[in-house]
């Protein structure tokens, strides 16, 4: 009887050999190809069986492997003996960038991203070379690579993309790519990513500019890449957690939008 079979199925107890087929047939009518057993032993489906199938199929879907989490690479610039710029007399750039990277990491994780950090404390970067950072980024298969900087010379947030001339990957073919020009096929996507970030940061009531530059950390990346330079709005915001949080939330929101963007493709895994 379909009713009895449905009852046992609801409890998760298979009643006979062909119970799975029974669900599959009804599921197939609903367009779900989850279960496919070919043995024909069921009777015509009833409404109750369809209801049971509707209840059980989400569970069956949950058992299938989850899609891979999108990866964001965060590189807090400087670190180790390289302190970078000085925002104030006692505040080096490396302290601000690592604090900002850790803050942004938390916001991205709660939004469903997998975050790869090049280092987590300023001292971790003691043996990390610039090429080592880039290699880590290119291996990560990230959909966006964000290099974080800080400076006391200009107020607000400054976004930078590589100044390399844009080249189409299709035109490049099998030609070897120089290490310091790996970003060239990604420049168009990087510009789009910078545009999304600029719009989001502007909406967070923070002054923001966008331009292009020659930066070794950007030019070798094989992923959509943007360098973000965080400048204090005044002396009080040089190390202000609220200011950093506001900018970090805007960036995280923009990356969530970027996740569904057609240009959000992952890196090719270029390794030196």
């Amino acid at each position: 009887m379909p009713w009895i079979r449905a009852f046992f199925l609801l409890l998760g107890i298979p009643t006979e050999e062909c119970s799975g087929v029974f669900i599959a047939e009804n599921a197939h009518r609903c367009g779900s190809p989850t279960l496919h057993r070919q043995k024909k032993c069921s009777k015509p489906a009833s409404f109750a069986a369809a209801a049971v199938a509707a209840l059980l199929l989400p569970a069956a879907r949950a058992q299938t492997p989850a899609p891979q989490q999108p990866v964001i690479l965060l590189d807090a610039a400087h670190g180790g003996p390289d302190t970078g710029a000085r925002l104030t007399e006692k505040l080096p750039e490396r302290e601000v960038t690592i604090a900002f990277a850790n803050r942004l990491q938390s916001l991205l994780i709660v939004r469903g991203f997998k975050v790869v950090l090049t280092h987590t404390t300023p001292d971790d970067a003691a043996n990390l070379t610039g090429d080592g950072r880039v290699e880590l980024a290119n291996r990560s298969g990230a959909m966006a690579c964000i290099t974080l900087h800080a400076s006391g010379n200009a107020a607000g947030v400054h976004l930078f993309t590589s100044a390399l001339p844009e080249t189409e990957p299709a035109l490049q073919g099998a030609k070897p790519v120089p290490w310091n020009e790996a970003q060239a096929p990604w420049v168009t996507r990087s510009l789009r990513l910078a545009s999304e970030l600029q719009a989001a940061i502007s909406r967070s009531h923070t002054p923001v500019t966008s331009s292009r530059t020659w930066l070794a950390a950007l030019d070798s990346l094989a992923c959509p890449a943007v360098a973000i330079e965080l400048g204090p709005l005044d002396d009080a915001t040089a190390q202000d957690p609220a200011y950093q949080q506001r900018v970090a939330e805007a960036i995280a929101g923009a990356l969530l939008f970027w996740r569904g963007h057609p240009n959000a493709v992952t890196g090719t895994g270029a390794v030196r």
């Binding site: 400054h158 600029q198 967070s204 923001v208 930066l215």
Partner: protein, 235 residues
């Protein structure tokens, strides 16, 4: 009792001392009057020989930190004719402007920012020797005297700007500020030397990875118009 001759000698010396003091006071007054007349003169000292200095319009691309822009600005300055000295004078003037306290892109450094400037004809590889028809090996390897000039006319020159290390070490650190400095130099060279197609930087004769920790300084840059409009979005 003082002898008479000693009294006469004393009075004579006393009289002489008074006369000398009076003379020195007179000379002192004259000197002060002469120095005052020189310092208060309003007219400038003219160049010897009556030479007239020719000034010409030079376009500088000036950076603005607050706006994040690079804008062209014309100035009238006197320049030498020799190209390398001319370029050096233009860049020195550019950095002199940035060294002012009221500059919109303030750079603090001691002395001169430029150690040397020179031009190289492009391409940097030597020209290919003729395929055949030459028996003399010297003729095969030696290009014609106008070869470099002809190539440079087609491909342009590379300007090599050798900065002083004291300037690079004192430069403020940050992507924005370093980018504006270099783009300002590139744009100024492009505006005044159209025959230059590539620009390269050295620091005290050596390559340096970054200007002040960010901007890559070891590349060869195209000489292009680097005018930068403001993209600042202020909420």
């Amino acid at each position: 009792m003082i002898p008479r001759y000693q009294r006469i000698l004393f009075l004579a010396l006393m009289t002489l001392s008074v006369l000398m003091a009076g003379y020195l006071w007179r000379v002192h007054q004259r000197t002060i009057a002469r120095l005052n007349s020189i310092s208060s003169a309003a007219t400038p000292i003219e160049a010897p020989g009556g030479a007239t200095i020719q000034t010409e319009a030079v376009t500088f691309l000036l950076a603005d930190d607050a706006a994040g822009t690079i804008t062209p600005s014309d100035r009238q300055i006197a320049l030498p004719n020799e190209p390398t000295i001319r370029l050096r004078a233009i860049l020195e003037r550019l950095f002199s402007d940035y060294g002012q306290t009221d500059s919109r892109h303030p750079l603090k450094f001691d002395g001169s920012a430029i150690a040397d400037v020179f031009f190289l004809p492009l391409p940097l590889t030597p020209p290919k020797p003729p395929e055949s028809g030459y028996k003399n090996t010297e003729e095969k390897t030696t290009p014609s005297p106008t070869a470099f000039t002809d190539m440079a006319a087609r491909n342009g020159y590379m300007a090599v700007i050798n900065l002083r290390q004291s300037f690079a070490d004192a430069h403020p650190s940050g992507i924005e500020v370093e980018t504006l400095t270099v783009l300002s130099i590139l744009g100024t060279v492009h505006a005044n030397f159209p025959q230059v197609s590539r620009i390269r930087f050295l620091v005290d004769g050596k390559t340096r990875p970054t200007l002040a920790g960010h901007f890559s300084l070891d590349r060869v840059y195209p000489s292009t118009d680097t005018t930068l409009q403001s993209t600042k979005e202020i909420p």
